[in-house]
Amino acid sequence: MKKSFYKALKGLGKMIPLFLVVILFMGLFLAHISEEIMSEIFTGDPLRDTPVGAVIGSISAGNPITSYIVGGELLKKSVSLYAVTAFIVAWVTVGVIQYPAESAILGTRFAIKRNILSFILSILVAIATVTTLGVLQ
């Protein structure tokens, strides 16, 4: 029992430097990328803005609440709901900043495949969600 506890402690302890890398990376992101900078990247064209939204969401980090607030502001600035949905979905499903930790712990091939798939799915989920909303309303 004691051995299993120490094994768990040791297993997590070995990964603390990787967690710190992700946290320090997130700190840099939060200090340098403001909501205004994110808003300025969108043009108002849904075809261009949807993949752009997915890219910005993918490289962003932090609490998902921030993505909803930024997403709400983007909608007010006439950015399409397709782009905003891709942005908020990619924010929580794609982890570019977490990639070093995911790759080292779960394997590089797994991390690459999972993040690419999540990126593609963020666009597909956005299209499906907004199209369904259009049909329902």
Binding site: A8, L12, L24, G27, A31, H32, V92, L121, V125, T129
Partner: protein, 165 residues
């Protein structure tokens, strides 16, 4: 899948590079770098309370759960039950995604499928406590439709990961 036994070594090297980056940025833009360091400390303070929970889970997995049990519920022959467990536990799990990696690695070594790990990680994006906030910004219908598609996407992602393995 290649085994990664050197997380500690890789982590220390990356951490060294990150500290070096902070030192360089401090020399160039001290105010922003201090802001970044403070933001990092805030994030660390938020996730610290979750660590004992993760240690507890890892300990329980190591001590009480045998590989054949893991295989039965989330292994190769787990079927629909496995997908259901991965998606539901993903939705219910708390804290940042990266602190779940060690536990998932342990579960994988005991037989958990990669597809179910991917489904778990995707389903984590559905955060029940935050649903009212999304509804506030985007409407209740949006939340319901988005949640349904995200559950479907978590299973699709897991299935595709299995197919391309």
């Amino acid at each position: 899948m290649k085994k990664n036994k050197n997380e500690g070594y890789v982590g220390m090297r990356l951490l060294g590079l990150m500290v070096l980056l902070y030192v360089i940025l401090y020399l160039l833009k001290p105010e922003n770098t201090i802001k970044a360091a403070k933001a990092s400390i805030n994030i660390l303070a938020q996730i610290l309370p979750i660590f004992p929970l993760i240690i507890l889970f890892m300990w329980v997995v190591n001590y009480f759960i045998e590989p054949k049990t893991v295989s039965k519920y989330v292994g190769r022959g787990s079927g629909t039950k496995g997908w259901l467990i991965a998606v539901v536990t993903g939705i219910l799990s708390h804290g940042p995604t990266y602190i779940w990696y060690p536990l998932l690695k342990d579960l994988r070594s005991q037989g958990m499928k990669n597809g179910l790990i991917a489904a778990f990680l995707y389903a984590r994006a559905i955060k029940i406590p935050l649903l009212p906030l999304i509804a506030y910004y985007f409407g209740i219908t949006f939340v319901i439709v988005l949640t349904i598609y995200m559950i479907l996407a978590s299973i699709i992602e897991g299935k595709v990961i299995e197919l391309i393995e």
